[in-house]
């Protein structure tokens, strides 16, 4: 396969970027998208040019590192597939492919196709955890969880934090990501204790990090490689409304968890 690529090249966070044209020759349809870029980079290195910088880690669709918008769609044309799991057979010989980084104010470009997604980490740090007294491993099934709740929590926990939802959102909103984390913990008894505090803190942090708000376009669900659904955003909204009478209590959890558990 021979392809024409237009790739976003940007030397640094503050440098201006532009699309550069490259020819990818002799690409096998069995290659993954990232392997295709490896081939292009090898030829760039041979010609003495700077290779294209892109993020990758596991290359098996679970780490959420590969962050590329391919022809205007985060993670490319194949549904529920990360860039590393996208294969060149999804394209045709002679195709023109546009490759750009995630675009959002909260995700500044580091170089070429690599963006800084630590804003997601800061949302998690704000409340995406449960406070527990560590001790011995609890007995299996000591805490009974209805099957339906366990399934909901597992579905939400599928989020790999890749940021495709933010990249796809016309508002650059992190609602799907935040909603997945809020729903995941709110569905389980261990997470319910701090549910009200969590939803307030995490949505506040989302705003502070420069993400937009949700206009219910549902672009995020369509772009998500893990099939996280917008019904989790409805769940986040419910959790937020439930927390309203109490207001934003941003105080750290009290050391005695026995009292909070009664909520």
């Amino acid at each position: 396969m021979n392809l024409t690529l237009y790739v976003w090249r940007q030397k640094g966070p503050h440098a201006p970027g532009k699309l550069a044209r490259y020819e990818a020759r002799g690409i096998s349809p069995e290659m993954s998208f990232l392997e295709m870029l490896d081939v292009v980079n090898e030829s760039l290195i041979r010609e003495g040019e700077e290779p294209i910088s892109f993020d990758h880690d596991c290359r098996e669709g679970i780490c959420g590192t590969c962050s590329q918008v391919i022809n205007g769609v985060p993670h490319g044309p194949q549904e529920r597939t990360t860039v590393c799991q996208l294969h060149m057979r999804s394209f045709r010989d002679g195709d023109t492919i546009y490759i750009e980084p995630w675009r959002a104010r909260a995700f500044p470009v580091i170089r070429d196709l690599i963006v800084d997604r630590s804003a997601f980490e800061r949302i998690i740090q704000a409340g995406g955890y449960i406070s527990v007294h560590t001790g011995g491993v609890p007995d299996g099934n000591a805490l009974l969880i209805p099957k339906e709740n366990a399934d909901t929590a597992m579905d939400a926990a599928e989020c790999i934090g890749c940021g495709a939802c933010v990249a796809a959102c016309p508002n650059g909103s992190a609602m799907l990501f935040t909603a997945a984390k809020v729903s995941h913990l709110a569905a389980l008894p261990q997470g319910r204790v701090e549910a009200k505090r969590r939803v307030c803190l995490m949505t506040e942090e989302m705003l502070r990090q420069g993400f937009g708000s949700c206009s219910n376009h549902y672009e995020c669900q369509a772009a998500c490689p893990k099939g996280i659904r917008v019904s989790f955003i409805a769940k986040l909204n419910r959790e937020f409304i439930k927390a309203l009478p109490r207001g934003t209590n941003t105080a750290p959890p009290s050391p005695s968890h026995g009292t909070e558990a009664k909520e």
Partner: protein
């Protein structure tokens, strides 16, 4: 409760509640309009205006809802624009619709129309000589029918109303379903149902409203 005005999610909750209140008003208003088809508009208007408490409660509620809808709406629009600095070289919308992407613009058209509509039929500053308060019908009631019939005999005027109502159709097509999502009243099963029902309600309202200028313009309903 302060988070309702500071948080992004809180603002969306405010917009959803106020939007639903205004949608209810729009439904009642359209039902009221239908009295024109049966020659009962003057009777309806006279009865409605005799219920002063109801009229003023509704007016104050709608004014509050309008403020609670427009202020956070514009704030969020500006925030969202800032959050998405550049666009992609190729933009492929996966789910977003023309209606969902243009809420702020259809909203502004509706806002401008609302001012005109109030000046026109409520305060009767436009063509005051044809206004309901300037003419009474044979039963001694303000002649609202005459005012409406006169207004929509002008093609430009009728078209202006139809344009504004098209903006309302688009706004409600996305707005109704979106309000349920913002209030968390959604599950995987309800989402497609609410999306479709929202469109049907918006469409029925649109057809009900444009019927008035259309049948007058086409000469089906005469004075």
């Amino acid at each position: 409760m302060r988070v309702l005005v500071t948080s992004q999610v809180g603002k969306k909750v405010l917009m959803a509640v106020s939007g639903q209140l205004m949608t209810l008003f729009v439904i009642v208003h359209m039902l009221g309009n239908t009295t024109l088809f049966f020659g009962g508009l003057n009777a309806y208007a006279a009865k409605l205006h005799s219920l002063l408490l109801l009229v003023w409660t509704a007016r104050l509620l709608m004014l509050t809802a309008l403020v609670a809808h427009v202020v956070p709406g514009i704030q969020l629009y500006l925030e969202n624009r800032k959050a998405k600095p550049g666009s992609y070289a190729i933009r492929n919308s996966l789910r977003a619709t023309f209606a969902s992407k243009n809420m702020v613009w259809t909203g502004m058209i509706i806002g401008a129309f609302l001012i005109y509509h109030l000046l026109h039929f409520t305060f009767q500053f436009i063509h005051p000589e044809q206004g309901a308060s300037a003419n009474i019908d044979p039963l001694g009631r303000p002649d609202v029918s005459r005012m409406v019939l006169f207004s929509f005999q002008s093609t430009a005027h009728a078209l202006m109303y139809i344009t504004a109502l098209t903006a309302l159709l688009l706004h409600l097509t996305h707005g109704i379903q979106s309000s349920f999502q913002s209030l968390g009243l959604n599950t995987d099963r309800s989402i497609p149902v609410i999306v479709r029902s929202g469109f049907v309600v918006a469409m029925v309202l649109f057809l009900g409203y444009i019927a008035v200028p259309l049948i007058i313009l086409l000469g089906i309903l005469k004075g």
